[in-house]
Point group: C2
Chain length 323, copies 2
């Protein structure tokens, strides 16, 4: 939620002209996207989001992300569509950063999701999974179980600064979760970060999905597990089974979960909570005092993780009716 | 350049509906406005800027600012126009903050102004001064000479943390400038903060002025002095007399400077530099390490102040031809 990189007006005009989009009518840095610098640009041809990729995004991953958005948009998923410049190129450079221009998506994100929003998210996630099947590129999930240990080591010595005992609790989780992680579940392209701020609505109708910069190949059900964490807990950390049931119902209406996926939901949800706990604890400890973005509180995910640790079946997420 | 206050989607929808502007199509927090939270809102009726006033703006000043924008817009100045809600009210409340909605202005601000931009700014400033004559409300300039001493006292003890000797240099400036400050110059409503990021252009044509939240009543020529500081120094702090000449020429084409105003330019420019040095040094020392906005370097204005201290006449700002 910050402008990390400023763009000079004449550089911007040249850049937009290289796409044949006419005069820049306005350009506002927008307070969205923790990782990158985003501008909302109006030109004579319409509205676009201009993204400058900052150092946290690996340049070699950008073709996967941008290609995926283009692929999904062609497959009918409402998501930002990369614009090709006059030469047909998607990924360019501006102000010394890799840069791309994507179409602007109407809609606002829902601060207080209701079950009908969760239903719509479940549907959209399943459609994304189906549309992703035909995407030719692949990208490993660097934040999956095989990456957790290395991520933890980067802050293990200081983990208890976040909360006393956190280091030991994460060690126990890693020791239990990694060996018991499911194998052989249906896999494909997942969004991996489908939080409420990445889903736009007009009223209660979902109007689009954004921010594919964590997308990767992994178990499809893991993506559901991320959403259960992101959409189905109340501000007081109470799990809301009505929202969870709606999310799973929406998903199941488009793509039926296999029994193995259903059985794996508790461990996947616990793993997803651990993944966000790890990255947030890392960022919490490593964010400069002068950072433009305040880190999220990692303990929100410790609370979620403890909930999932106690669940025994997908029924506890509201899936009993579908079995 | 930050979103200090989040607005829930349903609160936003209700707020926009109270203006009769239809559905909220999108709402982006924008990274502009150091003092307030600004959202760019698209509705079925058009584009608007929604501003939530944060604590640094005094609520009792808001009717002056908003009334001024409405007055100037009616007088033909291109600036954001406050929108009245269904009841005819301009100033409302949202998310616990005073809030107003203004029209969106096309244009981008110029990162590297050229003389033609300075000419256009001079013209626009003079037009603003003429249009402001008929505005009935008034507001004292809290950041004028009578306020400098009090502002300095808030950080005097720590001034040398900004730069060794800064405290003594400011004390000398106050002792010289305050008693020699001009009296009886033509006065009226001034913008008082017309920096490049507050002036929009389409190409080299000025398309509008924004951010009237420092506007007040003071000497009109003081507003020119602010612009000389803001527009006519290069990144290496060299004064660019070509830009200054253009700015004064643009101004003079609309409103002729009186001899007393011309004679006062050096001391006004020096005072304007001191005013920004004081507020920036204060903010530099008082900004929390966790602030969302990084403070400007106050020493940029010490360099300007020293330049103006050495000037003896308006001729050194390029005004000789007009005398």
């Amino acid at each position: 939620m910050a402008v990390y990189t400023e763009v000079a007006d004449d550089d911007l005009a040249r850049f937009i002209d290289s796409y044949g989009l006419g005069e820049v009518l306005s350009c506002k840095g927008i307070a969205e996207g923790v990782e990158n610098t985003n501008f909302l640009v109006h030109t004579g041809h319409g509205r676009y989001i201009l993204t400058l990729y900052e150092k946290r995004v690996r340049r070699e991953d950008l073709p996967f992300f941008l290609g995926l958005m283009e692929h999904l948009a062609k497959a009918g998923i409402s998501c930002p569509t990369p614009v090709r410049d006059r030469r047909g190129v998607i990924l360019n450079e501006l102000a010394g950063r890799p840069a791309a221009l994507v179409t602007f998506l109407d809609g606002i994100w829902i601060r207080r999701p209701r079950p009908e929003h969760c239903l719509a998210v479940g549907e959209a996630l399943a459609k994304l999974h189906l549309a992703g099947r035909s995407y030719a590129e692949a990208r490993e999930n660097a934040l999956g179980p095989t990456g957790w240990q290395a991520l933890f080591q980067r802050f293990e010595a200081r983990a208890d600064e976040v909360a006393p005992g956190l280091g030991a609790e994460i060690r126990r989780e890693l020791a239990e979760l990694v060996p018991s992680w499911p194998k052989g579940l249906p896999a494909g392209v997942i969004h991996a970060d489908l939080f409420p701020d990445n889903v736009f609505f007009r009223g209660s109708k979902l109007s689009g999905l954004i921010d594919f910069y964590f997308a990767c190949n992994d178990f499809l059900a893991y993506d559901i597990a991320v959403c259960l964490n992101a959409w189905c807990f109340e501000p007081d950390f109470a799990f809301n089974i009505t929202k969870s049931r709606a999310l799973l119902k929406g998903y199941g209406a488009v793509r039926e979960l296999q029994p193995a996926e259903q059985a794996a939901l508790p461990v996947l949800a616990r793993g997803a909570a651990l993944r966000f706990l790890l990255t947030r604890a890392h960022d919490w400890l490593h964010t400069s005092e002068h950072a433009l973005v305040k880190p999220h509180n990692p303990l929100d995910y410790l609370r979620r993780l403890r909930f999932h640790r106690a669940t025994r079946s997908a029924g506890e997420y509201g899936l009993e009716a579908a079995r």
